[in-house]
């Protein structure tokens, strides 16, 4: 690709987690104009929910934030939050994409991110970003440090929108006249030559895993819930405590939650479960930690060392079958051990490592884009390289293609960009 033609190339990146961010920054470096579309009001994906990442326990938000700042300051990248792709037409080199952009009702230019608008808001509700472990208002930032540092109004909860009330409390609290109730949702049409799909993954709904006792109440938690409990910008500011405020004196982490249902290994759970041993012992050194695993899957040159460092701090138990039931104030675990014996154990806190599944709306998006979806619902072609989608001009990056860690996601984002730039330089012939 020549410098001149690359500057004219527009690219759409769907999903602004670490893969989407990496793809956007690399494309911008190449001279492309990037539309980075994200349906949430903030960006950074799952990574910004973590306090630390395995295996070197680097602070996750400190790792992500400089990359996020680069995106925000890059003139070639237009970050479109609260936006969803609704329609895709055309082919490699010439796509027309319809994007629905929801109004934020806060002027990003005028807002300085002081958060003065939250307090007066009369509506409180569970905060989804905090896995419902904390509360937020109808005008909110999902968490302290969220980027862009501009609140948004949740029109499904704000009484102006739900009850047609003339409530202006947030507007009155704003010193910068940043709150604008007159903003409207928009439908934007984008012309792009290529599309990179980086929509990430979700965790399987743990409440569907009947034998594991998760209800969103009580003392069974998901991995993401523990992440937010440990997070210094989370609902407890990093205090690991049970929903009733007690400190757990024992905890168990159960690997492979939902693996039987999905039929595959989610690749990263063993490592982050070992990271949880560090989380728990760091904050609660007197808490006994048990880890129930099926096979310890710690592939790659760096991970066994971490496993070996953690293994003395935890009671590692291999299980074949396992079920969970509430037992008074604690959680009862019945399991068949790797040795074939039937055992029981009571703990105060149980943490599930749920299977990774394709993100919400993956099927609809695959249909819209005309790209392949494997048997497990993740995107990607089974015959090409992992960044290929099965359709020319469209490439896949990160966990949208299947479970992988952050490093592999970022690598694949680079691969998607590599394929796009190379194909674009050939006028997408042979795509």
């Amino acid at each position: 690709m020549t410098a001149a033609s690359s500057a004219e190339d527009n690219v759409l990146v769907i999903g602004a987690g670490m893969a989407g961010i990496e793809a956007s920054l690399t494309l911008a470096e190449a001279g492309a104009k990037v539309y980075l579309v994200e349906r949430e009001p903030l960006f950074g994906g799952k990574t910004i929910k973590y306090e630390e990442v395995f295996a070197n326990m680097e602070c996750s938000t400190c790792m992500a934030a400089p990359k996020q700042q680069e995106v925000l300051q890059n003139d070639r990248i237009e970050l479109m939050t609260l936006s969803e792709v609704r329609e895709v037409k055309g082919e490699a080199g010439d796509f027309t994409v319809g994007v629905h952009r929801k109004a934020r009702y806060v002027d990003a230019e005028a807002c300085i991110g002081c958060n003065a608008c939250f307090d007066p808001c009369p509506v409180s509700l569970p905060n989804e970003f905090e896995e419902n472990l904390g509360e937020r208002k109808a005008i909110y930032l999902p968490c302290p440090g969220a980027l862009p540092n501009v609140p948004s109004i949740d029109t499904e909860r704000c009484v102006r929108f739900t009850e047609n009330k003339e409530c202006t409390l947030c507007q009155e609290a704003c010193m910068f006249e940043a709150i604008d109730f007159n903003q409207k949702d928009e439908d934007v049409e984008l012309k792009v030559s290529g599309i990179i799909v980086a929509t990430g993954s979700d965790l399987i709904d743990s409440s569907q895993l009947k034998e594991l006792g998760y209800s969103g109440e009580g003392n069974v938690y998901t991995a993401l819930e523990l992440e937010r409990l440990y997070a210094s910008n989370g609902p407890t500011e990093g205090t690991i405590q049970l929903r009733d405020g007690r400190t757990p004196s024992s905890a168990a982490i159960v690997h492979c939650a939902g693996r039987k249902d999905t039929g595959y290994c989610s690749a990263v759970c063993c490592m982050y479960s070992l990271k949880f041993v560090h989380y728990l012992k760091d904050k609660l050194p007197d808490t006994t930690v048990h880890e129930f695993y099926t096979d310890m899957c710690i592939p790659g040159k760096k991970y066994q060392e971490f496993h070996d460092r953690m293994k003395d701090k935890v009671n590692l138990v291999r299980y074949d079958e396992l079920s969970v039931s509430p037992n008074g104030g604690s959680v009862g675990i019945s399991y068949k051990s790797g040795a074939g014996t039937n055992e029981k154990l009571d703990v105060d806190m149980l943490i599930l490592a749920p299977a990774m599944v394709p993100s919400r709306g993956a099927e609809e998006l695959a249909g819209m884009l005309g790209i392949e979806q494997g048997g497990r619902g993740f995107f990607g072609s089974s015959t090409g390289s992992p960044a290929e989608s099965g359709k020319g001009g469209i490439y896949v990056a990160g966990c949208a293609q299947g479970p992988k860690d952050i490093g592999q996601s970022v690598a694949q984002a680079g691969a998607a960009v590599g394929r796009f730039l190379s194909a674009a330089s050939r006028g997408f012939s042979g795509e």
Partner: protein, 558 residues
């Protein structure tokens, strides 16, 4: 030239104005050396605020600017642009963070005011010692050297080469294709390995912009991003030199042979490694040494894992694939995998495991396995996880050894002055954020050199390396150097080379003619290691000189 400093304190709405007494801050800096104007403003980052600063710089003929406001992470780049717009060098600017570091964390207004005064005075003390800095543009060569002609190197080269970019693909073996060429099938989809190689090899061979140099090794790599001088040599000792802008290291992997002896390899007949069985399979000779078909085969996982101290990630599936070869081709053979932990990550691998089990391969979870020659066949003594020992007689043993980086990776690392990681793999610049970069700009990693991985992961890395180069090394575009870098004063440098040992980016060269060290501005990232290590004060950071830092500290601590 007269130094004329302007100091502007942002109210940031109530954020700063209510938390501290701004007028006292303004007053405290007004008399300082060089300050010609100090004032407050309601919101400097807003459009009107920025214009106000531009107007002020022009009106007061300012040479330096201090803004006391939020974190530089928020708006340093905003105010540097303001300087440029007003016609002063953007590095003649200093920001004092009196919001995050003072207003928001100091409840007592009196204390907050005192702290803010120190922060702003420190900024003034520093900025007066700033010097204008500039970036430089340098020409760069867009061509690429790819080392290694396996799938990683082939796929990288295929994406990179074009009318404006040549690729030199250097392979030490006489033929391209690497390890994968020797695999009949690839897990988990059991697609053909040679077909995959063919797909990329055909693209490479059809591309006039790729020079394939087989039977050739790299002798030296000198230079830096955009300007590497490469010397290669073929088997006949004929040398060749050329320039490239970037290097992709795709040297591949090898089996770890260190622990094979513990499993009877080399002593007991019919004990093979996975790669040997791949080769036997490709030749259509899945047989014992005596030519008979084996009736029972034991496949031993995690061979040498105690020694390597990592999981090689591909062996479980490689073992299953070998089981499938045996079952498919020999039919009547008992194949048993002796594993410790089944490692089948990702959305397809477990399905492959189930299919392999359905094909008749058995799996037994064990601890350590010993291989003995009973005189009448091979006996495997398997310690089970529960401590019992089970014996199993087999005709053939297949060892799944740890995966290591290819032989020459050490020599390459040395050539590039890059350190090797603890297990002999090359080190990525950042495990998560820069998995195919090295600490040397312009040198990228793909495949076995960086760690064990599947064909799929290897392709991801090799295409990512291509992506990084396609994005960063655009033909015709010049490279812009970073302004905030280190420099070494030739008159003070004693040539001790301490700085060379602490530079993480290979950015310092020793000039043996002059006996001094020199900073390469293209590679320097301004970390300051050399400046703090230099015993003679010759190395310094252009934007963090000792003088600037001491003046800043003196005002803070006053």
């Amino acid at each position: 030239m007269e130094k004329r400093i302007g100091v502007y304190v942002c109210e940031c709405g109530p954020n700063i104005s209510e938390a501290l007494d701004i007028d006292r801050v303004v007053e405290a800096v007004s008399g300082m050396d060089g300050v010609v104007v100090a004032d407050r403003y309601k919101l400097l980052c807003a459009g009107a605020g920025q214009q106000h600063l531009v107007d002020q710089i022009k009106e007061h003929d300012l040479t330096h600017l201090v803004v006391a406001a939020c974190s530089p992470k928020e708006h340093e780049s905003t105010f540097m642009s303001v300087c440029e717009k007003a016609g002063i060098n953007p590095y003649m600017f200093q920001m004092a963070n009196i919001r995050e570091q003072v207003a928001w964390v100091t409840p007592d207004k009196e204390q907050a005011t005192e702290r803010a005064i120190r922060h702003v005075r420190a900024a003034v003390g520093r900025v007066i010692r700033h010097t204008p800095l500039a970036t430089r543009e340098i020409e760069c060569n867009p061509d690429v050297l790819v080392i290694g002609g396996g799938i990683a190197g082939l796929s990288s080269a295929a994406l990179l080469a074009g009318p404006e970019r040549k690729v030199y693909l250097v392979e030490k073996e006489p033929a391209l294709g690497g390890a994968v060429k020797g695999y009949e099938k690839l897990f988990p989809g059991m697609r053909s390995g040679s077909e995959l190689v063919q797909r990329y090899q055909a693209q490479v061979e059809a591309n006039d912009n790729i020079t394939v140099l087989t039977g050739t090794t790299v002798k030296s790599i000198l230079g830096f991003l955009g300007n590497f001088e490469i010397a290669v040599e073929n088997g006949q000792g004929e040398g060749q030199e050329f320039m490239v802008g970037a290097v992709v290291a795709a040297l591949g992997m090898k089996e770890d042979t260190e622990s094979l002896g513990e499993y009877g390899y080399g002593e007991i007949d019919d004990v093979y490694t996975a790669l040997e069985v791949e080769a036997m399979n490709l030749e259509g000779r899945l047989a014992l040494k005596n030519g008979d078909a084996p009736k029972s085969v034991g496949i031993i996982h995690c061979v040498g894992r105690e020694h390597s101290e990592y999981c090689s990630s591909v062996c479980c599936m490689a073992g299953m694939k070998i089981g499938r070869y045996l079952k498919d081709k020999l039919g009547d053979v008992k194949v048993t995998g002796f594993y410790r932990d089944l490692c089948v990550p990702g959305c397809d691998a477990e399905q492959f495991y189930r299919e392999t089990r359905d094909a008749g391969m058995e799996f037994v979870r064990v601890g350590r396995v010993e291989v003995h020659d009973s005189g009448n066949g091979i006996v495997l003594k398997c310690g089970t996880a529960e401590g019992a020992v089970k014996e199993e007689k087999v005709d053939m043993v297949v060892l799944l050894p740890s995966v290591q980086a290819a032989e020459d990776v050490g020599a390459l690392a040395e050539m590039l002055s890059l350190p090797l990681g603890p297990h002999g793999f090359m080190i990525e610049e950042h495990e998560k954020l820069a998995p195919v970069n090295t600490s040397m700009e312009g040198v990228y990693l793909a495949g076995g050199v960086t760690g064990p991985g599947t064909a799929e992961q290897t392709l991801s890395q090799s295409e990512a390396a291509a992506g990084r180069i396609l994005a960063g090394l655009v033909p015709g575009r010049k490279l812009e150097t970073e302004a905030r870098v280190s420099e070494i004063r030739a008159d003070l440098c004693a040539g001790c080379r301490t700085c060379l040992t602490v530079c993480c980016y290979g950015a310092i060269d020793y000039d043996p003619m002059k006996g001094i060290c020199v900073v390469n501005e293209v590679l320097c990232r301004g970390c300051g290691n050399c400046a703090s290590a230099c015993p003679s004060g010759a190395a310094s950071h252009r934007h963090f000189t000792s003088n600037q830092i001491y003046r800043e500290m003196a005002e803070i601590l006053k």
